[in-house]
């Protein structure tokens, strides 16, 4: 039931949620998570996302299937962009739909934790000083321990 998209184009949060909800009356709760390019100190010029075509889609589908096995979801969508993005641009969208709010919240939280440490994407930041690959955070791997 989950659908996964890996694309260069931007996405429309409202339209994506509307498409998942269309004509349905059995859904009680919809959670969306959107990740954006953050520039805390004003020094970021751009962020380029490299990915592993084929494996990225497969890995996101595996993560979504795992979420559907753990929670009673009525819908699930993951969109992740690649390519060159600017500060403020949207990077990733996760939407979960369920009859119950706790299931929708936990599944979206879980999906982001797994996506962060399993989906084959690599960020390169461009600043005045040049371009550098972003180092992975231990906290992202540690976050997986929240979901035994």
């Amino acid at each position: 039931m989950a659908t996964v998209l890996v694309q260069e184009a931007d996405f429309d949060i409202g339209a994506e949620i509307a498409a998942l909800r269309a004509g349905r009356t059995d859904i009680g709760a919809i959670v969306s998570f959107t990740g954006t390019v953050r520039d805390l100190d004003g020094g970021l010029k751009a962020m380029t996302l490299e990915h592993y075509p084929g494996m990225t889609e497969a890995e996101l589908a595996r993560i979504a299937t795992e979420a559907e096995a753990r929670w009673p979801l009525q819908g699930c969508r993951i969109i992740h962009r690649f390519g060159r993005l600017l500060p403020g641009d949207q990077i990733v969208l996760v939407i979960t739909l369920s009859a119950h709010r706790q299931a929708a919240f936990e599944a979206a939280d879980f999906l982001m934790d797994f996506l962060k440490s399993k989906a084959p994407f690599w960020k390169k930041e461009e600043t005045e000083g040049g371009a550098e690959w972003v180092a992975a955070k231990d906290s992202d791997t540690d976050a997986l321990d929240r979901w035994p």
Binding site: Y52, M55, H80, I91, K116, P120, K124
Partner: protein, 83 residues
Amino acid sequence: MQLIYFAWVKERIGKSEEVLHLPDHVGTVAELLDYLSGINEIYAHALSNRAMLRVAVNQTHVGLDHAVKDTDEIAIFPPVTGG
């Protein structure tokens, strides 16, 4: 085998992919990394920090003791940083 490199592994090796013949004595991911590091100094440098390398075989994350075959697609990359 088909080898694919990403992020700074790709930049250090200087190519994004290549086809190499898997020697008979190379049976695991760890042995493959040892073999590649022995090709020349470029590979040795790119693959020197094992703690910062991750490997996928046929598009699935695997550990260092995972088996490799000459028909596999093997990707080597740093820890992922998407999302």
